[in-house]
Symmetry: C2
Subunit: 80 residues, 2 copies
């Protein structure tokens, strides 16, 4: 599967790594995910590195995963 469930600080998170040919492409994707986050008022962790972006979705309020996180993951895929 593209998304994995990882556990961090005792909370399950949905995580996917997206690959790019350079840093600029990665940063551009980070901005698209950021715009999506603001539009939905739900904010992921986005790790931007040379050639890749790692996105994690989870719901802090409930300490783990909510249906909405899976929806946000699907929307993130559409931006790729």
């Amino acid at each position: 599967p593209d998304w994995n469930i990882v556990e961090q600080e005792g909370m399950k998170r949905l995580e996917r790594v997206f690959k790019f040919p350079d840093f600029a492409g990665a940063l551009d994707f980070t901005n698209r995910v950021g715009k999506l986050a603001e539009e939905n008022n739900h904010h992921p962790a986005i790790l931007t590195e040379w050639g890749k972006v790692t996105v994690q979705w989870w719901t802090h309020k409930i300490g783990g995963l909510h249906m909405n996180d899976f929806i946000m993951a699907a929307k993130t895929d559409e931006l790729f």
Copy 2:
């Protein structure tokens, strides 16, 4: 100190967490650091979250820290 030395994947990295009042402020800082990285052709790991950005500088080629990483850390501070 503002910057800490952390070890990840067997390599020492310089790390600092920068705080912001919201997600937009954090993402804006990520873009400023990204621009600095492109200008210097040296690329950090930038973790963007609601209200904070964690920046790590290291030199993959030498598997750790080079003088240049400390210079990039200082330049990152100037963007804050």
